[in-house]
């Protein structure tokens, strides 16, 4: 250590390319891969931006998952003790508490189970495409295709009536808005929990073959926990994949030679899906952790209680990890573990489902509409810069 204090920077914000993380991350990776930063709300903490450090933080139990939200207007003072996570919110829990919830669910999302689901997903996809074809374009691909697929699938799996989608989609989206007030987020969260709670009560009386019924019957969860777990799965299960499908489509349309390669050789779809996940990394502000004790990293002392932001998007553009130019979309890129689903014990539980859905959706879409194109100039597509999950607010397409 040289003894000089590293300068505090601001968290990089603002994209220059709609598909790439803010440019500031390139500088961070090169100059200050573990950097003290000021977050947009003025709170202080750290950002790690290199692939290896992002993995290290997320795999290290000295970093806890119950973190501060750090969203503009968050009323909790930066030095106030962290409130406990809401019941069932296991993505914010550590150790045995987290394991207890995770183990109740992982069996439902195994690779084998999800692959068995593929034909059912393909059927849903085909039905949406029929409806889209009948509409004769231009249509908003997000509402007509990208959102219904994961929504229908997660509703089916969880045992949630799809007819109620308007309400839960609205509550999901509110919880992910960066400009929503603390009260608005709380309210949306509670509404979602109440909705699941009331469903669970009904399932207790008449259990069926779905995840919520299974959780009700396992009797290892309180009603509040059950509602929390259910709403978390419902939210995570449709918002993320919907944005990957819509943004992934837009990205392919913007890279015609990649799109042509994929159309010419459908066997490339597996690697194309991984590449889109890596390249687009829609968890746009990364994952936050809190140091549970003083941690020494690469000569920096991260004090207990500090917030550390692990930038998944930045790690996924790290040239020391990915061959060739990681800033270029390459559907033939040799596989290398990316960070789009996170890392460590919290790594996305629904990732195998997301893979099945993306593959089915993109394959069938490209196949069915050979002349698919944007119906507006690319720079007029409203991007989700204002959401925790990046993507598009709308994607007008025609064919």
């Amino acid at each position: 250590m040289t003894g000089t204090q590293p300068t505090t920077r601001s968290q990089p914000m603002g994209r220059t390319c709609p598909f790439s993380p803010p440019e500031g991350y390139r500088t961070l990776r090169e100059e200050a891969p573990i950097a003290p930063v000021t977050f947009p709300d003025g709170a202080k903490g750290w950002v790690v931006s290199r692939y290896a450090d992002v993995r290290a933080v997320l795999a290290d139990p000295r970093f806890g998952a119950n973190r501060r939200r750090v969203r503009p207007g968050d009323p909790t003072p930066a030095d106030a003790p962290l409130p406990p996570p809401p019941p069932g919110m296991f993505i914010m829990m550590d150790g045995p508490e987290h394991t207890r919830f995770r183990r109740l669910l992982t069996g439902q999302f195994t690779v084998r189970r999800m692959q068995k689901l593929a034909p059912a997903v393909e059927k849903i996809v085909a039905e949406q495409l029929d409806a889209m074809a009948a509409a004769q374009g231009p249509v908003d691909l997000l509402q007509a295709f990208a959102l219904p697929i994961p929504s229908l699938v997660i509703c089916e799996l969880l045992g949630v009536p799809y007819a109620d989608r308007e309400e839960f989609q609205e509550n999901s989206s509110m919880q992910l808005r960066l400009d929503a007030s603390h009260e608005q987020v709380q309210q949306a969260h509670m509404a979602m929990n109440q909705y699941i709670h009331q469903l669970a009560v009904a399932k207790r009386a008449h259990p069926t073959d779905d995840i919520l019924s299974g959780l009700v019957q396992s009797e290892r969860l309180t009603d509040e926990e059950l509602a929390g777990v259910g709403s978390l799965l419902l939210l995570a299960g449709h918002e993320t994949t919907a944005n990957m499908i819509a943004l992934g489509t837009m990205c392919l349309l913007g890279n015609p030679e990649q799109l042509a390669a994929l159309r010419a050789d459908p066997a490339l779809m597996d690697s194309a899906v991984e590449e889109l996940l890596r390249y687009l990394t829609i968890i746009q502000y990364g994952l936050r952790r809190v140091a549970l004790e003083d941690v020494e990293m690469d000569g920096h002392r991260i004090e207990a209680g500090s917030t550390v932001l692990a930038s998944l998007a930045s790690g996924n553009r790290d040239a020391t990890q990915f061959s060739g130019d990681p800033d270029v979309l390459d559907v033939r890129r040799p596989s290398s573990p990316h960070l789009a689903f996170g890392h460590g014990v919290h790594q996305c539980i629904g990732q195998q489902l997301a893979r099945v859905e993306m593959k089915a959706a993109l394959s069938a879409l490209l196949d069915r509409f050979p002349s698919l194109r944007l119906a507006v100039p690319a720079d007029q597509v409203p991007m989700r810069d204002d959401m925790l999950i990046y993507g598009v607010h709308e994607l007008p397409v025609t064919w």
């Binding site: 995770r102 669910l105 992982t106 069996g107 195994t110 460590g344 195998q352």
Partner: protein, 64 residues
Amino acid sequence: MKIVIDEDKCCGAGQCVLSAAEVFDQRDEDGIVVLLDAVPPEEQRAPVEEAAARCPALAIEVLP
């Protein structure tokens, strides 16, 4: 080559199955990794090492 897994660490993410389906599977009840072959043939080395590298919970150890 010999594989040792730590079930307690496993978080059921299934990366191992995606990388080397002939060597790893997951239990239906809780998604925890199941070793189908603890001493796989040499031609499985690359996928097995990939599985170990991908495992988010560092639950897979490959011994020479």
